[in-house]
């Protein structure tokens, strides 16, 4: 009994102590970050559009710059970005020195949060601001990063000019109320979508040729092809994929996808539409006939690799560089005839146009890329803001543009007929670095960053002829400017909306994934789809649609 009362005393003491600590220890004793409304420094600035004779800048300021070192392309060979020939050149050209700070690989999120929470901010941060709780608007409101509208006007003529000439890009780079917050990564889509569409369905073209079949266009074609793969080529898993739930390429033929889409300005949820049931029936048939990998639910990247390299799978979905290129390279060592080719998304009837497309609204895979974007923090003092802005703006100038996409003249590229063309140093690096790494020492085009990615680089990078041919097929499916149904633009939900969405969608997606696979593998009858729709409604899918619509409306109304 004595023991018990002592325990009780201990508990009470603990509670008291904890409560006392709660109310007294609050924020860390570090400096408080304060929301800053920056006033433009009164220094004279060149008018936008004038040639940038201001470089190299005459300054002693050393900027601190936090970003995750691009892995693996840069990190394989350098431990600090400042050591690369690229940034050595940038420092010389701009006259500015930058101290890069990189978190250990894989720890970026924790490091970012700790850095922000401790108030120990650098001048510039490259971060995916859409992943910040509450989005970029909250990052500004909470006093982390600076609004850039005035800064662009005064110190960044190059990016200002670009955004003015291309309002569709400007739209994507701002918050809903028109505030710019980052020096964006822009994929040049003024000519075509080559930089935006890089993933699609592809299959063993050499098998098709041996079987005297054409690239499949309709679902019936697909049945023929997959059956032939199964029967004549011994493919026990003719169609397979490792992230099945994230792919829509077969569903688009039925006018649906796995998530949200736009019909006009209204938002719909794909799995709820009748077309989805049709697609489920089709795939259920295919699965029952052994045309789809029996292990489809458990396949991971390595298992998929094994199946493709081992000839068990003839068709899959993936990226033209990371998958198609890789498989080709890996297999040609033993079988030089191996050839993969991408196809268009299948349609119901021959000659039909794809139902999904990209229109002016639909910037789901938009020019403003995903990933980390450079922003100037509130830690930067006013005079440092100017330097930082000019430093980043350099990337969008003539020289910067060429440098960041192609690298250093006469080292990584030479001018051939007016087009920067990669040199042998890139294709046949003396130390055996693959193209991506060789290029990444000189340019940032293989990953992303604050610059305009040139459309000229991609075909030199993905140089297999079938990659370009594949892209054309994929682009055809995704790139209809007049498509009635479209992908959602990248909206910026408020933090409350984001939380609500996450709460609803975690459940809904769980239900969706279970239902799709259960019906497809025959565990459940197709009728289960009907109950699924009802349950999803009960989970709040209609509220989720509302939230998406609100976001889309705000996007449309951006200035």
């Amino acid at each position: 009994m004595k023991n018990n009362s002592k325990v009780i005393i201990a508990v009470v003491v603990v509670l008291l102590v904890v409560v006392a600590i709660w109310f007294t220890v609050g924020r860390p004793p570090a400096e408080e970050p304060v929301a800053v409304t920056p006033t433009p420094a009164p220094a004279p600035a060149p008018a936008p559009g004038e040639p940038a004779d201001i470089y190299p800048l005459d300054t002693d300021v050393v900027l601190t710059y936090w970003m995750a070192l691009p892995a693996p392309h840069v990190s394989a060979n350098f431990t600090n970005f400042a050591d690369t020939p690229l940034y050595q050149r940038v420092f010389t050209e701009t006259g500015v020195t930058v101290e890069f700070m990189h978190p250990p690989e894989g720890q970026a999120t924790e490091q970012f949060n700790l850095m922000v929470a401790s108030g120990d901010l650098p001048d510039v941060i490259e971060w995916g601001w859409h992943a910040f709780p509450g989005g970029p608007a909250k990052a500004i409101a909470d006093g982390l990063i600076r609004p850039l509208n005035d800064i662009f006007e005064n110190y960044a003529p190059n990016i200002s000019a670009l955004l003015e000439e291309n309002p569709q890009w400007a739209r994507q780079a701002m918050t809903d109320d028109g505030t710019f917050y980052m020096f964006p990564f822009i994929r040049d889509d003024r000519v075509d979508n080559r930089l935006l569409v890089s993933t699609g369905i592809f299959l063993r073209y050499d098998w098709l040729q041996a079987l005297e079949l054409q690239l499949p266009e309709t679902f019936d074609d697909w049945r023929t092809v997959l059956t032939a793969f199964r029967d004549e080529k011994g493919a026990v898993a003719p169609l397979s994929h490792d992230a099945f739930m994230t792919r829509d390429h077969f569903q688009t033929g039925f006018g649906v996808n796995m998530g949200f889409f736009l019909e006009g300005e209204e938002v719909r949820w794909g799995p709820m539409q009748p077309g989805f049931k049709e697609w489920l029936e089709l795939f259920r048939d295919w699965y029952a006939d052994g045309l789809i990998d029996p292990e489809i639910a458990t396949v991971d990247r390595r298992a998929l690799e094994a199946k493709i390299l081992g000839g068990q799978t003839g068709a899959t979905i993936g990226a033209m560089v990371g998958r198609l290129g890789f498989y080709t390279d890996a297999m040609r060592a033993t079988d030089p005839n191996v050839k993969f080719m991408g196809t268009r998304n299948p349609v119901r009837n021959r000659g039909e146009e794809p139902l999904f497309g990209m229109g002016p609204l639909s910037l789901g895979t938009g020019a403003i890329g995903t990933g980390a974007q450079a922003a100037i923090t509130t830690r930067a003092e006013d005079h440092e803001v100017e330097i930082a802005a000019r430093f980043l703006d350099f990337n969008y100038s003539e020289e910067g543009y060429t440098l960041f996409s192609f690298g250093i003249e006469d080292q990584s590229f030479t001018w051939v007929d007016g087009i920067p063309t990669f040199t042998d140093l890139i294709y046949n690096h003396p130390d055996g670095w693959p193209i991506a790494e060789a290029l990444s020492a000189f340019a940032r085009s293989p990953s992303n960053g604050p610059f305009l990615q040139s459309a000229e680089y991609i075909w030199q990078y993905a140089y297999l002829p079938e990659q370009r041919a594949s892209w054309e097929n994929w682009e055809w499916s995704m790139g209809r400017p007049d498509g009635q149904l479209r992908w959602l633009p990248r909206t910026t939900p408020t933090s409350d909306e984001a939380s609500e969405m996450a709460a609803i969608m975690t459940q809904v997606n769980t239900l969706r994934d279970e239902t799709v696979l259960r019906i497809m593998t025959g565990v459940a009858p197709v009728e289960e789809w009907d109950t699924f729709v009802e349950t999803a409604k009960g989970m709040g899918i209609e509220r989720a649609i509302e939230i998406q619509e609100a976001g889309v409306q705000r996007f449309i109304n951006r200035p």
């Binding site: 023991n3 002592k6 325990v7 005393i9 201990a10 508990v11 003491v13 603990v14 860390p28 004793p29 892995a71 693996p72 392309h73 990190s75 394989a76 431990t79 978190p103 250990p104 690989e105 894989g106 720890q107 924790e110 490091q111 949060n113 700790l114 929470a117 401790s118 990247r301 390595r302 690799e305 094994a306 390299l309 081992g310 560089v321 990371g322 290129g325 890789f326 080709t328 390279d329 890996a330 060592a333 033993t334 294709y427 055996g432 693959p434 193209i435 991506a436 293989p446 990953s447 990078y461 993905a462 140089y463 297999l464 990659q467």
Partner: protein, 293 residues
């Protein structure tokens, strides 16, 4: 009667040996697989499914990739420091705590035990922990990897249980001889608890050997990085390589297939040498030496 007992004993012996043999095969096989895989050719490994009875081809490139990294030597050095200093320090602290918690007749033993166990369930999370370490000035120093993890409660409870199983007669006779708590711990209890001390050294040692998370958060200078953090970076970088590399990066991809295995071997082999060394403390009858004195 003696005959049949011997026979049944023998049968049981054989069964036990067989059982043990099966267990050994099943538990050692993963490591053998890892060893073989680390020496294999990447492309063949990627295509292969099922058991490995030998390396597929013989390819040292995964080891080359690991050791080519200039940080590896530094990593070993830092980790050795952490393991040696850190384990001894932790075992020392743990022994102090376990001793206190194992004595009878101490008024505050129960509540303190409760408070300690409470921390196994409730904590403040990463951010305040980071601030505490920072406010103590430990950021970017190897001590940040030792002091904030001085004691693992689970280990201390194990040690306490072991201390509690030592008969009171030892402590009593030592007190009669005029010893205080400090000498009782170091001259009586610890020598009689060598098996559990060995286990503690092993647990803390392995824990420090494998640790990388605190290093990732508290260290800025790459020269201070412990081995596991470096190895982890290599692993992640290679994983990313597979997702994003260019068309000609097949070599890098092959590497990605075999590197995880090489990393495990590189990280584990040193540990394999420590355990047999500590094993000798697990011999029966260690306690007998001091018993009838």
């Amino acid at each position: 009667m003696v005959e049949s007992r011997k026979l049944s004993e023998k049968l049981i012996d054989i069964t036990i040996v067989l059982l043990m043999g099966i267990i050994i095969i099943v538990t050692v096989y993963p490591m053998i697989y890892v060893l073989f895989a680390s020496f294999s050719d990447g492309t063949r490994l990627m295509k292969h499914t099922g058991i490995l009875l030998a390396p597929l081809g013989f390819d040292l490139s995964s080891y080359q990739a690991v050791f080519r990294n200039p940080m590896i030597a530094l990593g070993y050095r830092n980790t050795t420091f952490l393991v040696v200093i850190g384990s001894i320090y932790s075992v020392f602290m743990t022994a102090l705590g376990a001793y206190f918690l194992s004595r009878k007749n101490i008024l505050w033993k129960g509540p303190i035990m409760f408070l300690i166990v409470f921390t196994m369930f409730f904590g403040g999370g990463l951010i305040p922990f980071f601030f505490v370490v920072r406010d103590l000035g430990l950021i970017n120093s190897l001590w940040a990897l030792i002091i904030p993890s001085s004691v693992t409660t689970f280990n201390m409870i194990i040690m306490r249980t072991a201390f509690m199983s030592i008969p009171d007669s030892f402590e009593e006779s030592a007190r009669i001889d005029g010893a205080n708590d400090i000498s009782i711990l170091f001259r009586v209890i610890l020598p009689l608890s060598m098996p559990v001390v060995a286990v503690m050294l092993l647990f803390y040692g392995v824990g420090r050997w494998n640790a990388w998370f605190h290093a990732a958060i508290f260290l800025r200078d790459r020269e201070l990085f412990p081995l596991q953090l470096i190895l982890r970076e290599i692993l992640i970088a290679n994983d990313l390589a597979v997702m994003t590399a260019g068309s000609d990066a097949a070599d890098r991809m092959m590497l990605a297939a075999t590197i995880p295995y090489a990393l495990i071997i590189v990280a584990t082999v040193p540990v394999l040498f420590i355990y047999p060394f500590l094993q000798r403390y697990f011999i029966k009858g260690v306690m007998v030496g001091g018993l009838k004195g």
